[in-house]
């Protein structure tokens, strides 16, 4: 259907970004395909090496899942800072990451976690890294006729530290600036770190150089200050009701600093990283624990098959 509708056909999930945009005449799709009612697109499967979340899974469902919280608590922390309870009952992960609005909180988190988006169209399926997905505000790697069916997240090492820190004017607001941080501490030294930023550029930003400042040494004022400076350096925020560009850049730095401190306080001794399935093409199905392999050799579980069990 998505293919038949051409360029002006779009999926609608929660509708809580799309309907407001249609009201503002910023979007005028001619055909909407309701994917929220497709049960096979919703669900959370926490496997030993990766977490697979169906695109139509709502923020409310992600907050409610204890399995997900145990494996990757930063997802709940982030989802709880999105909008308000009513919006979280409707807003989906696929809609949040597929929308392309730099204000959305999940895209930077997915970049921080190294998530892969499984994108399907009538002609097949492909995997796009969250880190390569965003091109400009509302421009993404999605082709016409293509949609995200699931998001695969490598399972963070047990004992990792994490924090999503978001500055907003009031509850329910989009970020003035926000930062997602994960840290792995081994014997007091940083084995690995990842940092990404929300709403301080046209797209979410992976702050790879900033994270690099932290790796290989114990956290110190010097390494943290270097990381904050590298993070601030890649921002390019616009001035809007949330503040001037300079202010938002500084606030991005403050959020990075706070998130590192909070992540450090939550970090235990990091365990080895869970081993990933041997080939990345296993990403969509490889480790979903409840998967039944009724599709035999196809491996990927067929169209949405990974969640059907």
């Amino acid at each position: 259907m998505l293919a038949a509708g051409g360029e002006d056909a779009r999926p609608i999930a929660g509708g809580h970004s799309l309907i407001p945009m249609m009201k503002l005449r910023m979007a005028a799709p001619t055909t909407l395909i309701d994917i929220a009612s497709l049960d096979e697109l919703a669900g959370i499967a926490v496997g030993p090496a990766q977490i697979v979340i169906g695109a139509a899974t709502t923020q409310h469902d992600m907050i409610s899942s204890e399995d997900l919280f145990a494996a990757c608590p930063i997802i709940r922390e982030t989802a709880e800072m999105i909008a308000d309870p009513q919006v979280r009952y409707c807003g989906t992960l696929g809609g949040n990451v597929g929308n392309g609005d730099p204000g959305n909180d999940m895209p930077a988190l997915m970049q921080c976690l190294g998530a892969i988006y499984v994108c399907e169209s009538a002609s097949g399926s492909r995997e796009v890294s969250a880190r390569d997905f965003y091109q400009a505000a509302y421009f993404t790697a999605l082709q016409p006729g293509e949609m995200i069916t699931s998001v695969c997240i490598p399972r963070p090492a047990q004992g990792h530290g994490y924090a999503y820190c978001k500055l907003k004017r009031k509850i329910g607001d989009y970020a003035t600036a926000a930062a997602a941080v994960t840290l792995e501490l081994v014997g007091g030294s940083v084995r690995d770190a990842s940092i990404a930023l929300t709403n301080v550029a046209d797209t979410p930003l992976l702050a790879a150089e900033a994270a690099q400042q932290l790796i290989g040494a114990p956290l110190s004022e010097a390494t943290i200050t270097a990381a904050v400076a590298r993070a601030e350096a890649i921002t390019a925020p616009s001035a809007d009701g949330r503040g001037s560009a300079e202010y938002r850049t500084k606030m991005a730095g403050v959020m990075v600093r706070r998130a590192i401190a909070l992540a450090q306080s939550r970090a235990g001794e990091a365990q080895p990283k869970p081993a990933m399935p041997s080939s990345s093409s296993g990403a969509a199905a490889g480790s979903a624990p409840t998967q039944t392999n009724d599709d035999g050799g196809k491996g990927k579980g067929g169209f949405f098959g990974w969640l059907k069990s």
């Binding site: 609608i12 509708g15 309907i19 909407l32 919006v87 009952y89 409707c90 509850i171």
Partner: protein
């Protein structure tokens, strides 16, 4: 534009209603079903005055198309009082604790509080405040709304109040 027949069960009563694809649920509830309890405050998903309960979720009905809810079971403020007309514990508590002034936000507040108490029958004050963060009130300063919800929660926890 072609109309589509959808079925909505509202406050226990089944309705078949012809809607256009673009009709928002709040308009269908208010204009087609004449249930004007849910209000339109902002129509931009901010104020929560249009909140209704749909299949166990609090939803801002100004930001859903009616066709997205074909077959759904919906409760609006009109469905909260008991069949004999006695007020629901939340309605009673809002009256008693002065949880409203102009009353515009009240239907949305009560529908949201209803779902909150279903999910968390014994919330702290902070949990109530976080739980109603999607509902704006221009009059009360929230203090008495929060108090009313806590009073109703206590009443609903007593077994004889269970309905």
């Amino acid at each position: 534009m072609a109309k589509k027949l959808i079925t909505l069960t509202v406050n226990g009563e089944k309705h078949e209603v012809a809607v256009e694809d673009r009709d928002l649920l709040i308009h269908v509830l208010r204009e087609k079903l004449r249930l004007t309890g849910a209000h339109i405050g902002c129509e931009t998903t901010h104020c929560g005055a249009c909140t209704v309960d749909i299949d166990g979720k609090s939803i801002k009905s100004c930001t859903r198309f009616a066709v997205q809810h074909d077959g759904a079971s919906i409760t609006t403020i009109e469905g909260m009082a008991h069949p004999d007309g006695a007020l629901h514990a939340l309605q009673e508590a809002f009256r008693q604790e002065h949880g409203l002034q102009c009353g515009f936000c009240t239907p949305g507040m009560i529908m949201r509080a209803h779902r909150l108490l279903q999910e968390n029958p014994n919330p702290t004050e902070e949990e109530v405040r976080y739980g109603i963060a999607g509902n704006l009130c221009r009059c009360t300063g929230y203090q008495n709304i929060v108090k009313a919800i806590l009073v109703a929660a206590e009443k609903l926890r007593q077994p004889e109040a269970a309905e």
